[in-house]
Subunit: 210 residues, 2 copies
């Protein structure tokens, strides 16, 4: 699919719209307006229309969008109309939390391998998956044709794990360790900084008080 260069913020919002449309669909709602989507997710209606316009023409004037069609289409744009197997490295608290996160499955993601180099963790069950030693990574990646890896290890170990993922052919990495990783340009990398969202709260709270 060829598209204009789409801003990252649009992709992020598209994911949020898509999740909201799923909620509507589960409630049996058939059509929705851009105003309703906007209110449901907390952005302006013009933003919703602008974001969707990157990908074509949707909706009927005065009627709105068909919930099921738009939901399917947003999933297709996001690349989650097919399932994605993932591997996760790091069987600490964060690794457990991510493995147990129901939101992943709902969006077509399934964790097919959890790895750790700590001998006390290897062999333990984490959400029905046994924690494997790092050396088993190539086998699992090949078996499930995995392209995405999640890093949930401490800061000091993150670069080494990223190198290992790249060496084993992964094409995308989601990094939860609070450190900037060196990764070849052809690998898609996103970092999750858990304090970023907190800082959008404090930004707003500080403004309220001023």
């Amino acid at each position: 699919m060829k598209t204009l260069k789409v801003p990252e913020a649009t992709i992020t919002r598209l994911s949020v719209y898509s999740r909201f449309l799923e909620q509507l669909e589960r409630k049996g709602i058939v059509t929705v307006s851009s105003v309703e989507i906007a209110e449901g997710v907390g952005v302006g209606p013009a933003q919703v229309r602008k974001d969707l316009a990157y990908f074509g023409e949707f909706g009927t004037r005065g009627v709105g969008y068909n919930v099921k069609d738009l939901m399917r289409y947003t999933r297709k744009i996001l690349g989650i109309d097919e399932p994605w197997p993932l591997i996760l490295v790091g069987a600490g608290n964060l690794g457990f939390a991510l493995s147990a996160y129901k939101g992943f499955n709902e969006r077509g993601f399934s964790i097919v391998g959890v790895f750790d180099n700590d001998q006390n963790k290897v062999g333990k069950k984490i959400n029905n998956l046994e924690v494997s030693p790092l050396k088993k990574m190539p086998e699992i990646i090949a078996e499930y044709n995995v392209k995405i890896g999640i890093i949930a290890v401490p800061q000091y170990a993150a670069q080494e794990i990223a190198d290992l993922m790249v060496k084993n052919g992964l094409q995308a990495i989601l990094n939860y360790a609070p450190v900037a990783l060196n990764i070849p340009d052809n690998i898609v990398l996103r970092n999750v900084d858990m304090s970023v969202k907190l800082e959008t709260l404090t930004f707003n709270l500080s403004r309220k008080e001023a």
Copy 2:
């Protein structure tokens, strides 16, 4: 401080720049250009300049920005030039992971109370804090003058906890439960959907293959 209406995406990036500046400062780097900041965090240099321009004039042409000054200023803008005590509800895996997350402390956040209504969890230690029953929430909020609460409970319990937080005077909520909460307009609410970042990966991977 009065400012123009600042886009949420700018605040998010400002938080990322601020973290990057901290890394530079720890390495003893004195000045930095917008190009270097841009490369360090993976956005365009024009974006860096545009984001900073919302808050005034920084830097010297041909010299760049003073790392320490800009770091301090970004922290001030984000409202984290002072420490923020937080409470956390939900002592499951995610609660444990969040309590252990070193990135919070580095940014001035400290979790001063962890709550759960599960009798098996109350009394357990989570990162040197004892898990308290929900009824102790008002006491801790008053003692530490807490304004921000984090929700890390399952989906079905999230609205009830949000209501309790609002009733107890919190002004901002960070919600990790994958559900849309009903919250009064004067409360600042942000939702963390752990699958959103994954979907920016799959979006890019799908494009690469097309």
